[in-house]
Assembly symmetry: C2
Homo-oligomer: 417 residues x 2
């Protein structure tokens, strides 16, 4: 197996000021092609710690990927350290300078000395063109291991990963022609982890020794991750397909996709095929459902829009919920959820609609309707109904779970269940 | 300085399936009280790697915090490893079992053998009560360093951090009575990093040697992070206050808060004080603005609601945008943005309104209005206007930046600028 380590440089990550999303991308991309990500390590902008961590990780992995410290704000921290470690010095390369000049002239910005320094690279490295920014990536070889250094700016890191590192690692794996591990994710919805496990049954009977099935729970459903060892890429891919089919046979009705699929994209696919439309009425989620639905490119083909009915007054005035309904049953009720769903569907002239009305918290809870109580309404040309949920989490969790359950409800109806 | 290392256990993080948000919380909480977070390390569920990583990190830090591997799905990976490392064995403690029994009886769930095993702890450890879940936290001491092991479930990790680890580390720092580093974040909006840096001027003149000022850019504005060394907590806090005042004097008009403040919470504070209300009309962002505004608890006091006018038909039908306007100027235009803002304000009977209409991409761009073109409208009782923006990013970035700029526009108006 080809072992990867990822080293992130940056005080802002060490002290918890920002979330390290770069490692997620790098790990996912390299795992996808069959590499084995051994470890993530994060350290601050400190020369001696960087030197010892580079040495430790480079010696224990085939490929070390270093992010951060190449940008314009932290400039010149990573490059001098790499020069010290590889006993090298910074130089200008004509090709890199030329790329940088072209870049600045295109953007109509004058190139300053400070900008120019971004083109400097250690003389013994291979420099990797950065199609998304000024600072080139850097590659070194030492004792058969490879070090890549990329900027911490996500767009630039992604560009260098795609253009250089992923193809390079893929090639290394192919040349080694040895065992590799491939993963595949299967996305399920509307079922608990424990029930899925029961339906799938004894994993040892389905899977070879060494292959694995992991369950990963989230509000959006349970992800199943199949992992297989193969003697070659083709061998591993065949095994993956066979195991996926076995899982499909057992729990197919709860599967909506694989890999990067999401419920909103699965809904979008069905609505686009059928040339049908959707509208929403949101109270406690106040736009989260609309945001999710429109996170899919091309959603304008099927999403008409919606109303954020945050106050009772607006529920009455804009979506014609009856005053009596609000007085008699309250805003968080089956009746209100149904009226919201039915009325937004007719006003927006849509084929389907969803409504969400609940007590997100922290305030607003009562004995009858404690924080976490949510009604989700559904309407199509044949029927209108609402379902009651109790999430019992904090504000953020109650809102997240409301959206997840509304989307699952619609998807289930669209699949005809 | 008291040095902290954080070790995360979990294949799902190594392979990039999920984002490690636990380290963000742990790092931020411990940095806040003056500890120095040296490193984050993530490894898979593998015994030998765990043993060597625990040994390496415990030897190089005062406190090692281990997350993951205590939950019900990955059960029994971390605990046996800790037993092996500390030459110990698992036992039941009556107090922990009793807590677990109470917990299950409260939830009205029968306690199985599998559940009961969650109460097992190594015999030489101190077990830490978990107020948010079944698995207790674990604490060991070795050669003057401390190891804490907490579940990977975010809510449980947070509970044990708050109840046990933060107070313990705070106490260690106080007892050591030595130099510590404190940080403070100052939140700015509506100004570029480079302009802020120019206005603040030469940092060496403002700050003592060793103290630091870092700039962290995001779509939501630039965060300034002040870091100071102090001989005691009081000394460091005083220095922080003095430096904050210096920064305030230089760029106060761009500051909206500190620490965990956000523009939506700053807007909410002003609107609540003034007993005024807000409505929104969203096209390309389709709920993201509403979501942000209502992420603040208590937003029902000032947020009336809004309309997701995703299609042209809905812009006309629900918010009375003139048909002529849409034909003559298009949906992404100053005129449409103004009509949306003015009409949603009057329909929702609100004091203020915002509208967003733009080309988020990837489709829909033209030569005149390329992907990334966005108009943001504003309306109050005195005026209605719209501003044009060009973000030129991908769908996600264009939508994010639209929301950030709409919020900044409103906040600026509310502050009377």
């Amino acid at each position: 197996m080809l072992n990867i380590s990822i080293l992130t440089i940056g005080d802002e990550i060490c002290i918890g000021q920002i979330t390290n999303t770069n490692v997620v991308h790098i790990s996912a991309e390299l795992t996808r092609i069959g590499a084995n990500v051994l470890t993530h390590s994060t350290i601050g902008d400190e020369k001696n710690i960087m030197l010892s961590e580079i040495d430790r990780l480079l010696k224990s992995s085939d490929v070390l990927i270093l992010t951060g410290g190449l940008g314009p704000t932290h400039d010149d921290i990573t490059k001098p350290v790499l020069c010290e470690y590889f006993d090298d010095q910074l130089i200008y390369r004509e090709q890199t300078l030329e790329n940088l000049r072209k870049r600045y002239s295109k953007l109509n910005i004058e190139m300053t000395d400070r900008n120019m320094r971004q083109a400097q690279v250690p003389s013994k490295c291979i420099s990797l063109e950065n199609s998304a920014g000024a600072a080139p990536g850097i590659m070194f070889e030492k004792d058969g291991s490879y070090l890549f250094s990329v900027p911490g700016v996500p767009g630039e890191m992604r560009a260098i990963m795609k253009d250089h590192i992923v193809p390079f690692v893929k090639n290394m794996i192919a040349e080694r022609n040895e065992n590799l591990v491939l993963y595949k994710q299967i996305m399920t919805y509307g079922i608990f982890e424990s029930s899925l496990a029961d339906m799938i049954g004894d994993i040892d009977k389905l899977f070879d020794k060494g292959d694995s099935l992991a369950f990963l729970h989230s509000f959006r459903g349970v992800r199943l991750r199949i992992g297989v060892h193969g003697e070659s890429r083709r061998d591993a891919e065949t095994k993956l397909a066979v195991l996926e089919q076995k899982i499909q046979d057992k729990v197919g009705e709860y599967i909506y996709g694989s890999g990067e699929d999401s419920i909103p994209s699965a809904i979008g696919k069905l609505l686009t095929e059928r040339k049908q439309t959707l509208a929403v009425a949101e109270s406690c989620t106040a736009g989260m459902l609309g945001k999710e639905i429109t996170s899919v490119s091309g959603s304008s083909a099927y999403f008409s829009g919606g109303v954020l009915v945050y106050s009772n007054e607006i529920k009455e005035k804009i979506l014609d919920v009856k005053h009596d309904t609000l007085v008699k049953y309250g805003a968080v009720s089956e009746q209100t959820a149904c009226e919201l769903a039915a009325n937004v569907r007719s006003k927006f002239n849509a084929d389907y609609s969803l409504s969400i009305t609940g007590v997100a918290g922290p305030g607003g809870g009562t004995e009858d309707k404690p924080v976490g109580t949510v009604w989700i309404g559904y309407s199509d040309k044949n029927e209108t109904f609402a379902k009651k949920y109790f999430f019992g989490g904090n504000r953020e969790i109650n809102r997240e779970r409301s959206v997840a359950n509304a989307l699952a409800l619609l998807y289930k109806k669209l699949r005809g269940k």
